[in-house]
Subunit: 291 residues, 2 copies
């Protein structure tokens, strides 16, 4: 089986798109999934969410590189929400398109192994890649790396997030002058180095927000073996010129994620077609910035 | 409704126990839940796990202050595992005993709100408290604090974890001489301060491992408004003398968690009674150390 990076780059080439479409179901966001329509019945709401995003996947599959599912919104819908997560994940994977589960997991020892098994092996939640949190240190990340290498899946370690408050911890100045996120980037590079594949990239990627253009540029160099997952485009403030710095010389090595700005454009019935148009427009801007 | 700290301290007084019994289902750990017994059928395995821990809860409810469910092991059992999580959580809460969900969640904005709603409001996963990860900064923690205050639930922010590699990030020396975990502790205290209740404690607690006795002692002072959740007792190396430092002058303000060392003592049918004995012994050692 090709590595996660190989599969992702193959998709980027085929679609000529660097967009990771984010699936963040907010049932209140569209009349067709609104809880009031179903008297709040969670099973019916979750079912409507599946249909809503299946329509978006069908309309956008040719114009995005991959999909990212935000676990928080599925968990908030309870057991029916988790069934919806499993269904949509399987639907995307059945099309041969990579799915990133954005669950930001992190734990130690056998608990980390259990999370890695849940999301990077078989089972109903099997995804192509998982976002993980580095606060618990290298030995908390290693079980994820082991499983990702074993099963040809990917990881994206949180390094520099797109939210304004991310700096409270990530930007702290260390003895010697570096900032914490640079220290974490070096940790990611140490974990990634031994597992570089033919593409030059390892299964250990990183999350770096589009809202910090200088850091993004510096981190592209500091994370030479890591595919970058870049959130924060558009509404949060990152522009096409900013995210261009995330890509390598071949225009690979990163994907830019966007969720609401693509999937909740309209209250109308043409939401899927509008998602396609928004993805094409966003990708066009990024392609133009890449030159 | 009394605050989470009030409910927890009331339990500590009633049971004279400072133990948080950890429910970390590992089906391979006992013949009655072993997957081979059920030809690997996840629904039957999850059902057996529920019976196993219901027996342990029944036997230990008088000798532990609270229970902590480790989400990773339930997620690893797929949808049936999450149903088991919901069942066991509801079973413990129906007895009036606090449940901490150890899920180490962390995200930004509306995603953080969705997690807070999932675990600190109504719904099938409603718990009394949740563990959360601080790497994404104060604005990622605030939605959890808001929800915890609103619904009288608790939080435990990861500050200093018990694993050997935790220091890779948490112990990094900052400009000015402090270590990162001290900086995070100060962030927790800033978030907790405005929400102190009658007990002097706020809903914003902290996770501090028993494996760092000096740090534990210092953090008890540095986190004056935070209930401490102390893992790492026993197998991981923390002793009764070490964890005594987590408690305030009244012997409140903390609970010490233990999982496998209590719940997987034997392969025999007397596992629940043996869990009770192990919890009584562990609590006796802590009581003796508190003097």
């Amino acid at each position: 089986m090709p590595t996660f990076a190989d599969r992702l780059f193959s998709r980027i080439r085929t679609t000529d798109s660097r967009i990771c479409l984010g699936i963040d179901p907010r049932p209140e966001g569209h009349p067709s999934t609104h809880p009031e329509r179903f008297n709040g019945d969670p099973a019916q709401v979750a079912r409507a969410v599946v249909y809503y995003f299946q329509a978006i996947i069908q309309a956008t599959q040719g114009v995005v590189a991959c999909y990212k599912l935000q676990s928080a919104f599925f968990e908030a819908l309870g057991i029916p929400g988790l069934i919806a997560l499993a269904q949509l994940t399987a639907d995307v994977r059945a099309r041969g398109i990579p799915v990133i589960l954005d669950a930001k997991r992190g734990d130690i020892g056998v608990s980390a192994e259990a999370y890695a098994r849940s999301y990077l092996a078989g089972g109903v939640f099997a995804s192509d890649a998982l976002t993980i949190n580095p606060y618990l240190g290298a030995d908390s990340l290693e079980p994820f790396v082991t499983q990702a290498v074993r099963a040809d899946r990917g990881l994206f370690v949180l390094v520099k997030t797109s939210n304004p408050g991310g700096g409270d911890v990530q930007d702290v100045k260390l003895e010697g002058g570096a900032q914490l996120f640079e220290h974490v980037a070096d940790l990611v590079t140490r974990l990634a180095g031994p597992h570089r594949g033919g593409s030059g990239y390892a299964p250990v990627g990183a999350v770096v927000g589009a809202t910090h253009p200088d850091a993004l540029k510096a981190l592209r160099e500091r994370l030479p073996y890591s595919v970058l997952l870049v959130p924060g485009y558009g509404a949060q403030g990152g522009g096409a010129e900013d995210v261009a710095a995330a890509f390598d010389e071949e225009g690979l090595g990163a994907v830019v994620s966007s969720s609401r700005a693509l999937t909740y454009v309209t209250q109308g019935a043409d939401f899927a077609e509008r998602a396609r148009e928004a993805a094409v427009e966003m990708n066009g801007a990024i392609s133009a910035a890449l030159g």
